[in-house]
């Protein structure tokens, strides 16, 4: 790995570089579950989680572990925040509420967040995760982040 850069500096560069995956790859846990940041057709960043055996929660179906889906939604929410907010601190998750709508099957999963409200200290971000059809989300989350 290259010379370790200040993490906040990496966040800021990821925002301005147009390569949002740089920040994902700087986070060990993101590499562990295999989540990548990609740029959609509309130019907005989103998360892509390829299917892998080590993220399975129920091997019979198989289904992706609910905790991994939660982590994907949290990552998408943070990604949305980093794209739009000039953060001065690494955003801290205050809380996250996840609704599980469908089981996450053995295929790629996508997630995107959007900022619902950004205050001086707190941002409220909503995120949705889907597989083949964006109109049939498999999970959705509402999360609050502390920005200071």
């Amino acid at each position: 790995m290259a010379e370790p850069m200040d993490f906040l500096e990496q966040l800021k560069q990821a925002r301005t570089s147009g390569e949002p995956d740089r920040i994902m790859q700087a986070i060990p846990y993101s590499r562990f579950i295999g989540v990548r940041a990609i740029v959609g057709a509309d130019g907005a960043a989103l998360c892509e989680l390829p299917f892998a055996d080590h993220i399975v929660g129920n091997p019979t179906l198989p289904a992706i572990h609910g905790g991994v889906i939660g982590a994907l939604l949290e990552s998408a929410a943070i990604l949305a925040l980093l794209q739009e907010v000039d953060v001065t601190q690494v955003p801290k998750t205050i809380n996250i509420t996840v609704d599980y709508l469908l089981s996450g099957r053995g295929q790629a999963t996508y997630a995107q967040g959007r900022i619902f409200r950004q205050g001086r200290r707190v941002a409220t971000v909503r995120a949705e995760a889907w597989q083949d059809d964006r109109d049939k989300p498999i999970a959705a989350a509402n999360a609050h982040f502390l920005l200071v």
Binding site: A26, V56, N58, P59, G67, A71, E74, S75, V90
Partner: protein, 149 residues
Amino acid sequence: MQLDVDNVRQMIRAAIPHVAALGVDLVALEKGRLTLSLPYDERLVGNPQTGTLHGGVITTLLDTVAGMSVFTVLDQMVPIATLDLRIDYLKPATPGRAVIGHAHCYRHTRNVAFVWGLAYHDDRDDPIAHCAASFMLSTAGAPPRREPA
């Protein structure tokens, strides 16, 4: 109670691949309550500058321990599915330390089970995270459904 210590160990070490990959182990089991531990692992870090674990790891630990605590109150094993999960992050996990996940399934009906849980290092009064979760209970023997009921 259908779930015994051997069942839990089999689930977290083999039957649930993602949980096995995290190295989760059993701490304590009683009817309605389950305690699991998650060893610190550099692969699970969320902030490389501080070395603190990613919130997603805490989510996974709490979802797992909460879901499995439901099995301790059921008369027979049935497929369950997380309906919703809320997590409050109360303080960052200390780098290098294992995290304990404890859950209490305090109420269940024919269709739904309700659980609260905590993540902490060694003091339950100084928690890292709190969770409230609900789970849908499937009919015994019915195949898991793709579409929500």
